[in-house]
């Protein structure tokens, strides 16, 4: 038996047992040697959890694999269904619908991005649809799905997938997982937080029953209030509600409406938007709205009037301020989940942000002497993630032609962040989308939303001409046909879901537990 160095932090305390708390506990208890680290999670059954993120992103597969979780077991435990994208309705204009897929649109032709050729051709043929050049979009529209293949040369490797899950069940699953790996769970409510006089860092939590929980390092997963990061350490909050004016949400569950769709729905309403998430056994529903433009009563009426099935739970009311904590990591405390900031679940980023934060924490797990430098880098990283996602979310509201309600008029004429303004103008003028190295949403995602909401470039790349278009025509025709044929061969999503949950014997093959990438599109 050998000892950890003295400078090593040993006792890690997690406050809060929702999705963020148990994901953190699971990752730390799996990845850190129990000989040197003790993981303690403090939660109270008396405090409800928000249960964020029923809709997830493909990165969750990567997270689960890192933890060694069997995909089939996970799917069954969380009543999961498959998600290959998000359908947005009424965003650019009332009646519009598009899908933001977890995959690409075509490939570059003669070193020029595919969409330049597409828009050049569309000028003369308005029937052309960008959607027809994305395998996951066509599959979603046909309620089809199959697991992507791994050979990068095949069209069927050009997409990824995520899940719709019951986040409460996921937290329960991870609780069992974490406790088996040695995490100690303490039931209790925090009464007070002790700070060290020497440096103001947290030394321990005093619970209502008098129990003291001491720790070297604390993870605040206490939700919006930020019991440690804000109430004790006063990290401060950067308010983004002037860019993203929705500040309330109502969530209810309903019966299933029939066949499970392989995508989440985000339907724009008069003062916000409604989500519909098809789980195996029920639908998750919610209305995210701006209280400045609709009151709670009318928001609830709107939501209930548009449920896909009978309501099966009482409404859960949430208030939030969109923004980020000025420092997610301060002294010996890192905030993960809602305590680190809030971005509405329009692009299902909540669980992604939890997982990204956990992975970065694992990468930068501090020792006593490098706590400050690691926190600086962590905050820089996390802030960058949040800023880039923020811009992408604002795009959905701002790139609209709608002025039919005060809410949409506000969104259309919003003064957007300069970073987004430059990005949008560049695309509108010459169709260029700046990719970045570190950030979640890359060219395919921006293209999906631009195109879906009617933002079209004025000019194509100068290399698009009749000669290169002739090559593009051939490629586009082939791609169109290949996608149609590939989708025709796919099982229905209903068959996949049945096969995943019911162990029925049929011809549908499940290619589970394939190596996942930390990517939205199935490729780096």
């Amino acid at each position: 038996m050998f000892k950890a160095p003295e400078h090593q932090l040993k006792n890690i305390v997690i406050l809060g047992g929702g999705t963020a708390g148990w994901m953190t506990a699971a990752a730390l208890s799996k990845l850190l040697s129990p000989e040197f680290f003790s993981i303690t999670l403090v939660e109270s059954d008396a405090i409800g959890t928000v249960g964020v993120g029923e809709a997830t992103l493909p990165h969750l597969r990567f997270f689960n694999q890192r933890l060694g979780i069997d995909e089939s077991e996970f799917i069954k435990a969380t009543n999961a269904t498959i998600k290959a994208g998000i359908e947005f309705s009424n965003w650019g204009n009332i009646g519009d619908t598009y899908i933001h897929p977890f995959g690409d649109y075509g490939k570059p032709i003669k070193n020029v991005a595919f969409h330049h050729y597409f828009f050049a051709r569309k000028k003369y043929n308005n029937q052309l649809k960008l959607d027809d050049y994305s395998l996951p979009v066509v599959a979603c529209k046909n309620s089809k799905f199959n697991f992507p293949t791994s050979d990068p040369g095949l069209l069927t490797s050009s997409y990824s997938y995520a899940y719709h899950i019951d986040a409460g069940l996921y937290a329960q699953y991870l609780r069992t997982f974490s406790e088996q790996k040695g995490t100690t769970r303490i039931e209790g409510k925090v009464n007070s937080v002790s700070l060290r006089k020497s440096d103001g860092s947290i030394s321990g939590l005093k619970l209502d029953d008098g129990t003291i929980v001491n720790g070297d390092f604390f993870v605040d997963c206490s939700g919006f209030k930020g019991r440690l990061i804000e109430q004790s350490l006063k990290a401060g909050y950067e308010d983004w509600s002037h860019w993203l004016p929705c500040d309330r949400a109502i969530a209810v569950q309903s019966e299933h409406n029939g066949r499970p769709l392989p995508y989440t729905k985000a339907i724009a309403r008069d003062a916000g938007w409604q989500w519909q998430i098809p789980l195996k056994h029920r639908m998750g529903n919610g209305y995210v709205y701006a209280s400045q433009y609709i009151n709670e009563e009318n928001a609830l009426k709107t939501l209930l009037a548009n449920l896909p099935g009978n309501q099966t739970s009482e409404p859960n009311y949430l208030k939030f301020v969109t923004g980020k904590r000025k420092s997610s990591w301060l002294k010996n405390c890192v905030a993960i989940g809602l305590s680190s900031g809030f971005l509405e679940p329009l692009e299902s980023t909540s669980i992604y942000l939890i997982q990204a934060a956990i992975m970065k924490l694992v990468e930068l797990l501090p020792q006593r002497e490098n706590m400050a430098v690691k926190s600086t880098e962590y905050n820089r990283y996390f802030s960058n993630e949040m800023d880039k996602i923020r811009d992408f979310l604002i795009l959905h509201y701002h790139a609209t032609s709608r002025e039919d309600t005060p809410f949409w008029t506000l969104c259309k004429h919003l003064k957007i962040p300069p970073s987004l303004e430059e990005k949008m103008e560049l695309y509108k003028e010459i169709g260029v989308i700046e990719d970045y190295q570190y950030g979640l949403f890359l060219t395919p995602s921006w293209l999906a939303v631009y195109n879906g909401q009617g933002v079209i470039p004025s000019y194509s790349d100068i290399r698009v001409n009749e000669t290169t278009l002739a090559h593009a025509d051939t490629y586009m025709l082939t791609l169109f046909t290949d996608i149609q044929q590939a989708v025709a061969r796919m099982p229905t999503n209903e068959q996949i879901v049945s096969r995943l949950h019911d162990n029925i014997t049929c011809n549908v093959k499940l290619q589970l537990n394939q190596a996942a990438q930390f990517s939205l599109y199935g490729r780096k």
Binding site: E363, N370, E422, L426, E429, V432, Y438, R463
Partner: protein
């Protein structure tokens, strides 16, 4: 947005000191625009070009771009005296006896998802044995040391898959090849400066100018301001064991770079005229020797009102062992999609200028990396260096690395910082702390594992054929 005018011509301008930059740019433009009606012209200087590099050390980024131009590895071997290199060798930077190698490939292999350097740092720290050095765990460095070479394997299970090589090429010969490519693809003829001055066919909004001459307006001072370049005769003997590495030797007033291409040795000595007044020349039988001033430094700039994009040949390009072609490749690849914005608003230009500035910071940092890392303070030059050198991002990255063993994610730095990491380790800048995940392996077990890995690498290197 204003009305647009179709671009009909791309005019590349180079000067006496930027022939390679000019022909590379012209060839890349000709290739990128080959399926268009746009003609590419190169207006070169009438004067005999002066090359700031005898040879260039090219890695995957540039080699891939050359391959697109039709300049395959075998073309470079046959027509530009290309030969592979595996590592950089540093001498005298951390004291007179300091000799260390930095390989091109990442050192060691990750264990349990944790970067190898954390285990190495842990072993060094816990055993107080500083003989555990990174270069012992790199097939690149050991092969460079013993002079053996084989092509890397594509099979990830093979130890040979851990080998990475670059190619050194003769700069003048590469320039000739690029000229051929540009003239074949460019649809335009080569023009000379005199001819251009009287031509008015190129003016106007139908023409884009890519000006590759040296910058005139310095935006930051260079510590080093001068260099000598010397070339050995074709049949001079070249020390065998140095064939596979480029040498960087620290001197009292700067440093000397030595590169080898087939049958020739190129030496460049960088120094500051502020401290070195006398005429310098290097020892040894060299056929050619010339002194060149380092150009002022500035990033590329798109001047929208003039339809001119300045792809400057600067001091950083002169310092970099790849001749700045890595930066130029990035810049040109960014430029082509933006060209449709040439005659519209300033958006494309502003975007280009922002990207240029961000990227330039990385290449500037890379060019000055060994100078920045050098701890010497035993001469006037090295004493002043600490005060003059400005590299905010590099300073942050190195400081963070030393304290954590992790590189910060900087958007304008490449994701793979393997060569930078190897250079830090060659300068004894090991992390002070290791990833707590590395504690999963018991120290004795770790020592055994690393010993086995070291032996495996040594044996493999010894069994490979000698490079000829």
């Amino acid at each position: 947005m204003t009305d647009t005018v179709a671009i009909k011509k791309v005019k590349v301008i180079s000067g006496k000191h930027s022939a390679l930059a000019g022909w590379y740019t012209a060839a890349m433009a000709a290739y990128a625009l080959k399926d268009t009606e746009i003609a590419v012209f190169h207006v070169a200087s009438d004067e005999e070009p002066v090359f700031s590099h005898g040879s260039l050390a090219l890695q995957a980024d540039v080699l891939l771009a050359l391959q697109n131009l039709g300049l395959t590895e075998s073309a470079l071997v046959n027509h530009a005296r290309a030969m592979p290199f595996l590592a950089n060798k540093y001498m005298g930077w951390q004291g007179k006896k300091h000799v260390a190698f930095a390989g091109l490939a990442k050192t060691g292999v990750p264990l349990g998802g944790v970067n190898f350097v954390h285990y190495l740092a842990r072993l060094r720290n816990e055993t107080n044995n500083l003989n555990w050095r990174a270069e012992l765990f790199s097939l690149n460095t050991i092969c460079a040391l013993v002079g053996t070479f084989a092509m890397p394997s594509g099979d990830p299970r093979s130890i040979l898959s851990s080998l990475e090589y670059g190619l050194r090429v003769d700069a003048k010969l590469l320039c000739n090849l690029l000229k051929q490519v540009a003239l074949e693809l460019g649809k335009g003829s080569e023009l000379h400066a005199d001819a251009f001055d009287t031509e008015d066919q190129f003016s106007g909004r139908e023409t884009i100018t890519l000006d590759c001459r040296v910058s005139k307006e310095p935006t930051c001072k260079m510590l080093l301001d001068t260099f000598l370049i010397e070339t050995s005769g074709l049949k001079e003997s070249v020390p065998r064991v140095n064939n596979l590495s480029n040498e960087y030797e620290c001197t009292d007033d700067g440093y000397v770079e030595r590169q080898y291409v087939s049958g020739r040795q190129y030496v460049r000595k960088f120094f500051s005229r502020r401290f070195t007044k006398e005429n310098k020349s290097l020892s040894g039988p060299f056929n050619e020797c010339s002194e060149i001033l380092l150009a002022p430094n500035t990033h590329d700039v798109w001047q929208h009102s003039l339809n001119t994009i300045y792809l400057f040949e600067t001091g950083v390009h002169q310092l970099l062992d790849n001749g700045g072609l890595g930066y130029r490749t990035q810049q040109l690849n960014t430029l082509w999609p933006l060209l449709s914005g040439v005659n519209s608003s300033t958006l494309a230009a502003n975007f280009f200028n922002r990207k240029s500035a961000e990227r330039y910071r990385y290449w500037y940092d890379l060019a000055l990396l060994p100078v920045f890392l050098c701890d010497r303070k035993d001469s006037e030059f090295w004493q002043l260096k600490a005060k003059l050198i400005e590299a905010e991002d590099l300073e942050y990255a190195i400081s963070f690395y030393q304290r954590t063993g992790v590189f910060p994610q900087l958007e304008h730095y490449p994701a793979d910082l393997g060569l930078i990491e190897n250079t830090l380790l060659a300068f004894d800048k090991y992390p002070n702390a290791s990833d707590p995940l590395s504690l999963a392996v018991e120290i004795g077990d770790l020592e055994r594992k690393l010993t086995m890995l070291k032996q495996q690498i040594e044996q493999t290197a010894m069994q490979l054929p000698q490079f000829k």
